[in-house]
């Protein structure tokens, strides 16, 4: 009985949480301009989303978002991994200072990060555009990469690295053949986290994107919504994003559960 009520509560909450997304998904299969009008089943919005034409600016916004996310995540992963190796080998107050510095961007609200960088760029006189958005994304993503890689370094047996050196490996070989393979899983989850953070970001982007006409998905939606009429093609787009994330997360979860079971079985 207790279990029944508990489950009912969870499903009720989920129903409320998913109702808005569900409505968007349902109305992505009809042509009506105004959401809520059902004018018969149609996949026209899906085809017109990808054929461009009138909605060319939406496509280029998606493209910009992806390019920025990939470049920013890649730079963050490299910078963050190198930093994590350094921090791991620091002791005492130096380490505390680095950890505190690393925490600042994560504790700062997005709007503060955005405004502070905006003030930096305008006072130095840098024109804002692609480069500044990528730089800004690297700044708030890197701390998360550091936090993903550090636990890997802590789990690693540091003697392996020393052993490689003793056995005649050059420091470079030791890094490539011993250190990097050990921290690779942390680097991968750091990259994924940075990528999703970058795609999701709105507040930092809008302050660093400048007035050169560059648009990401977030700023496109924002401008679109302010104009009043929402581009109907945003409905299929939101649906696609939602389904992709759902499938991705469930696969990752099922895979890691399976891997855990395997590990347990091997352990026995």
């Amino acid at each position: 009985m207790k279990r029944f009520f508990a489950q009912a509560y969870l499903w009720l909450l989920l129903a409320i949480l998913y109702a808005p997304i569900l409505i968007i998904a349902i109305f992505s299969f009809t042509e009506a301009k105004v959401l809520g009008n059902w004018t018969g089943f149609s996949t026209k919005l899906y085809t017109s989303l990808f054929t461009g034409g009138v909605h060319h600016s939406l496509l280029s916004a998606i493209e910009n978002t992806l390019i920025i996310a990939i470049v920013a995540a890649a730079i963050s992963t490299v910078l963050g991994s190198i930093a994590a190796i350094g921090i791991h080998n620091l002791r005492g107050h130096k380490r505390i200072v680095m950890n505190t510095l690393n925490n600042i961007p994560m504790l700062n609200p997005d709007i503060i990060t955005g405004i502070s960088l905006f003030l930096l760029f305008v006072s130095v006189g840098i024109t804002q555009g692609f480069a500044t958005v990528i730089l800004a994304h690297v700044i708030f993503c890197t701390p998360y990469v550091v936090l993903c890689v550090l636990p890997r370094l802590q789990q690693m047996n540091s003697d392996i690295y020393e052993a490689a050196l003793d056995l005649g490996a050059t420091p470079m070989q030791a890094i490539y053949k011993v250190l990097i393979p050990e921290i690779k899983p942390g680097m991968i989850s750091g990259f994924i986290l940075a990528f999703t953070l970058s795609i999701d970001d709105f507040a930092v982007t809008i302050f660093t994107i400048g007035t050169g006409g560059l648009e990401t998905l977030s700023t496109y939606i924002y401008a679109d919504a302010r104009k009043g009429g929402l581009t109907p093609e945003l409905r299929p787009l939101s649906t696609i994003i939602f389904v992709t994330v759902l499938v991705l997360l469930i696969t990752i979860n099922v895979r890691s559960q399976r891997a855990n079971k395997k590990k347990k079985a091997l352990g026995k």
Binding site: R3, A6, Q7, L10, L13, L14, L17, A19, P20, I21, I23, I24, L35, G36, L79, I82, A83, I85, G86, I87, H88, N89, R91, K94, M98, L101, I104, M106, P109, D110, I112, T113, I115, S116, L117, F118, L119, L120, L135, I139, T142, V146, C148, P171, I192, I199, D200, F202, L217, S218, I221, Y222, A225, L234, S238, I241, F242, V245, L249, I250
Partner: protein, 261 residues
């Protein structure tokens, strides 16, 4: 070359990077806040804030909205986190994923979905939509940290309390609640902070009728009032710093163990 072979020096580039792009910009907010448009030192930006009813009212209103959102999120999220972490009540891990999933969807898309829902149900946009939208946006951020702490909780404490004769209410108030407090604290930070600092969302949910403090800051910066905008940002930073002191580092401990992937 030998300098870079010492691995602790690998943190140096990141240290310099952080100084230039994190510390310096924050210092700039501070400097701009105490300057007039010509760069002279002044307190005018702050006295303007205190004397202008609009900005001050928005500020108080935003804190109110943030508090209500946080309380509603605790009331809805705590039972959910409890059920999710309890193996007898919820066996499937997929359930947890379903609750966390909305965190990965763009906040503007989520907000537009809320607007769509209200339009669809013919409900008026306004204060109700604002609170619903905020709770809808940030509820997963309350559930996840509480769920995380509860899952790591040592259940032998609960067994011990029961063996020693505590009734279910006592078990909850004396054992479960105190042990889950770090998660609740972390959840409060993760809901209160974004709610108070969001912009754009409130306008979309209320058809530009209600403004929150974040929007006021953004408008000032956009209209070239950098010094006043910086002063307002500094006020927000102080509030956030104060609430971080209040949560007493508990949040940090909990969040460092986060990360679902």
């Amino acid at each position: 070359m030998r300098f870079f072979m010492r691995r602790q020096n690998w943190s140096l580039p990141y240290f310099i990077f952080m100084l230039i792009f994190v510390v310096l910009p924050l210092v700039l907010i501070f400097i701009y806040a105490f300057q007039d448009a010509d760069g002279n030192f002044t307190f005018d930006n702050f006295s303007k804030f205190i004397s202008s009813p609009e900005a001050a009212n928005t500020f108080v209103y935003s804190i109110g909205v943030a508090i209500i959102t946080t309380v509603v999120c605790i009331l809805l999220g705590y039972p959910a986190a409890y059920i999710l972490s309890n193996k007898e009540l919820c066996r499937s891990k997929v359930m947890v994923v379903l609750f966390i999933l909305p965190m990965w969807i763009n906040i503007l898309v989520r907000t537009l979905a809320t607007v769509a829902l209200f339009d669809f149900m013919r409900l008026p946009l306004g204060e109700g939509a604002l609170i619903f939208g905020m709770v809808y946006n940030f509820l997963p951020f309350m559930i996840y940290p509480i769920y995380n702490t509860m899952q790591k909780m040592d259940h032998s404490y609960i067994d011990a309390a029961q063996d020693l004769g505590a009734n279910p209410i006592n078990v909850f108030t004396k054992v479960v609640l105190p042990l889950s407090m770090p998660g609740v604290m972390s959840g409060i930070m993760m809901v209160f902070m974004p709610t108070i600092s969001t912009f754009a969302i409130a306008e979309l949910l209320t058809m530009n009728n209600i403004k929150l403090f974040g929007t006021t800051i953004q408008e000032n910066i956009n209209n070239g009032m950098w010094n006043y905008g910086a002063a307002l940002s500094l006020i927000m930073l102080v509030i956030i710093f104060a609430s971080e002191l209040f949560s007493d580092g508990e949040e940090e401990r909990a969040s460092n163990e986060g990360g679902i992937i």
